[in-house]
């Protein structure tokens, strides 16, 4: 199938993001201007987001190696919202950084394009390139403040481990190709048919392993807390929000489209991984005294819950996964957004002298008594954590309700039990953080957000995330209708 004008029109959003990246590159070559570059990136992302509305009229459409269907548009919208939030947070975070600041937006745009391609891929070549285009800029973003030892460590750690996972993914693809002689997912599905054979199973399992690494599902989770803790807060936000959403969506597409991934043995393995992720992630989070590490472990647990939707993969599963992804994304943006704002160096803080002389403000002691200094930021963080815990009247409750309903309907009691036990453990450490926010004592740490944070773009982002969490928790109909209309294009 050759590329036609219709296909190009349907692929406008990723093309616009790539064009913005090139524009940003040329602008940096011409003149370095931090705010200007940030505005160009945000405008480009907004244009791409708007063009999604037009593209949704054309869906479903099968472009060569990419599908423009409901799932791809859904994922692209989530990824671009996360990228917009990261760009605005990065502007606040990098405002007083003394090194070159503009490349961050270039890398962010490249990674966004990669995530959108990954979520839309219907061919193993685009899957691989999308995944790499998502990961390689992330190495640079995580190691962005490379003068800081932890940031460099996070970047290198993610680079090495992610390269190893990519090797597994490629080996799995090679085995599937050797078995079938096809690289497109529809072709793979047609050739493999019912019985997939030992090599096909091994290939599917290796691919699953590579993707599970990116999702930091339990046996492959070792990198998560260190990378979250070390990376600059906006980069960690993008890693936790956009990158994981994109990889999960492509996994969802593989599971629904290719029979090799519907094998019952693989489903049992996935179910075991899901239970392990929920329990281990939540249990390890209990002992953390660093908010970023805690959020890292909690994201492991969240992807355990999300894997439940993949294991059951019938009926409600796409709808449940979609609702859960939205609630996870909003809560992550809210929580990491507050961490970013608190860590951002600013004129009135004693830290500005050596701007970024210290690591991010992620230790729980930095947040002790935050309520008495920054009540609104505290409210945002509290709402995000409540949503992660799945308390009613937040979006997280709707997501968790869907997951449990899915498990009960399919009568997978082990999974349902693990979700409930995991949520109970989770509630404990989320509440522990919340209690810290309201404690007060003499001589507490003065690590604080800028005075005028609320009128800046970053403040608007976190307040918007919190407002959406509450709004969708009370009135979830729009998001449910959207995810119900999501269709996966299997052919092409």
């Amino acid at each position: 199938m050759t590329l036609t004008a219709t296909h190009l029109l349907a692929l406008t959003p990723p093309i616009l993001v790539c064009a913005t990246a090139i524009l940003v590159m040329l602008a940096i070559a011409w003149r370095r201007h931090h705010t200007g570059i940030a505005i160009v990136s945000v405008v480009g992302l907004n244009l791409a987001l708007l063009s999604l509305i037009g593209v949704s009229w054309m869906a479903p459409l099968a472009a060569p190696m990419l599908a423009v269907d409901g799932l791809a548009i859904f994922a692209a919208a989530l990824i671009m919202v996360a990228a917009l939030a990261c760009a605005t947070l990065a502007h606040a975070y990098l405002a007083h950084y003394t090194g070159p600041r503009e490349e961050f937006y270039l890398l962010l745009l490249c990674a966004t394009a990669g995530g959108m391609v990954l979520a839309a891929s219907t061919h193993l070549a685009t899957l691989f390139l999308g995944l790499e285009l998502l990961s390689i800029p992330l190495y640079g973003m995580l190691a962005y403040v490379y003068g800081e030892r932890r940031s460099l460590e996070a970047g290198v750690k993610y680079l090495v481990l992610s390269a190893a996972a990519t090797a597994f993914l490629l080996f799995g693809m090679a085995l599937l190709y050797a078995e079938t002689g096809r690289l497109d997912i529809a072709g793979l599905a047609a050739r493999l048919g019912g019985d997939i054979g030992a090599w096909g199973l091994a290939g599917a399992a290796l691919m699953l392993m590579g993707l599970c690494f990116k999702l930091s599902v339990v046996p492959f989770h070792m990198w998560t807390p260190d990378v979250y803790e070390g990376g600059p807060a906006p980069a960690a936000t993008f890693l936790a929000a956009a990158s994981k959403v994109a990889v999960f969506v492509v996994l969802l597409r593989l599971m629904t489209a290719a029979p090799a991934f519907q094998n019952s043995d693989l489903h049992d393995v996935l179910a075991a991984l899901a239970v392990l992720s929920m329990l281990v992630g939540n249990l390890l989070a209990l002992t953390q005294s660093n908010l970023k590490r805690l959020l890292g472990y909690s994201s492991i647990a969240h992807f355990g819950y999300l894997l439940t939707a993949l294991v059951i993969s019938d009926g409600l599963s796409i709808e449940a996964a979609g609702v859960y992804l939205v609630s996870y994304l909003l809560a992550t943006l809210g929580a990491f957004g507050v961490v970013t704002l608190i860590s951002s160096p600013h004129a009135s803080s004693p830290y500005v002298a050596g701007a970024h002389g210290g690591t991010d403000a992620a230790g729980l002691h930095h947040y002790r008594g935050l309520f008495w200094r920054r009540p609104y930021l505290t409210a945002v963080l509290t709402i995000s954590l409540l949503s992660m815990a799945g308390i009613p009247f937040t979006a997280g409750f709707i997501g968790k309700f869907y997951i449990i309903a899915l498990g009960v309907e399919a009568e997978r009691w082990w999974l349902v039990g693990a979700v409930i036990v995991g949520s109970a453990i989770g509630l404990f450490y989320y509440l522990r953080v919340m209690v810290t926010l309201f404690l007060t004592e003499a001589g507490m740490q003065r690590r604080d957000a800028p005075e005028n944070w609320a009128i800046q773009a970053g403040g608007v982002v976190v307040l918007g995330a919190a407002a959406l969490i509450v709004a969708l928790g009370i009135y979830p109909v729009p998001i449910i209708e959207w995810t119900q209309s999501v269709r996966v294009l299997t052919g092409g």
Binding site: L3, L11, A29, R32, T98, G99, P100, L106, Y139, G140
Partner: protein, 178 residues
């Protein structure tokens, strides 16, 4: 042809083992060159002469020679001469030389028996076929690869920059080439 394929494959595996077990970077790189050349021979045996030629020219030729140069330049020091002498001991070059000799024997034997133009199965993949595939249906993938290289380049140039706030803030004030 099948024998050529399997023998080259075996050489590739052995040479790659040499790469990962060697502690000296230059020795490991010698093995890596042999490994890449044997992979090129595998491509020839499979009927993809274009991919094979690219493997020889780009990987074994340009990239690896660059690697060897850089590693050798980094090692320039007081013990440079002694190290050069140590590298000339047979223990170092015997392994890669033997493996390359096997590859040469395979190549000569294949050419001698008049099987030069044949391959194991399928049609010959020419440069024309590869080009029309890449710039036809795979056009998007080529463009994505371009974006990937851009991202990798920016990452490398940013992280590889010499730290020092004074220099960078100074640079920011003036117009500069990135």
């Amino acid at each position: 042809m099948e024998i050529a394929f399997y023998l080259s494959g075996l050489v590739a595996v052995l040479a790659t083992l040499g790469v990962v077990t060697n502690t000296n970077p230059v020795h490991a790189l010698l093995y890596l060159i042999v490994s890449l050349i044997s992979v090129a021979l595998v491509f020839f045996a499979l009927g993809a002469p274009f991919a094979g030629a690219l493997e020889v020219i780009v990987y074994a030729g340009a990239i690896m020679v660059l690697f060897v140069f850089v590693v050798m330049m980094l090692n320039l020091g007081q013990q440079g001469v002694a190290q050069e002498r140590a590298w000339l001991s047979p223990r170092v070059w015997l392994g890669p030389a033997l493996l390359s000799a096997v590859l040469l024997v395979i190549l000569v034997a294949t050419l001698w028996s008049g099987e030069g133009g044949r391959m194991i199965t399928g049609e010959t993949l020419t440069a024309r076929a590869v080009g029309s595939l890449l710039f036809g249906p795979w056009l998007l993938v080529v463009e994505l690869a371009a974006m990937l290289l851009l991202a990798a380049l920016v990452t490398a140039s940013h992280v590889g920059r010499l730290p020092g706030p004074a220099a960078s803030s100074d640079r920011r004030d003036h117009k500069e080439v990135p």
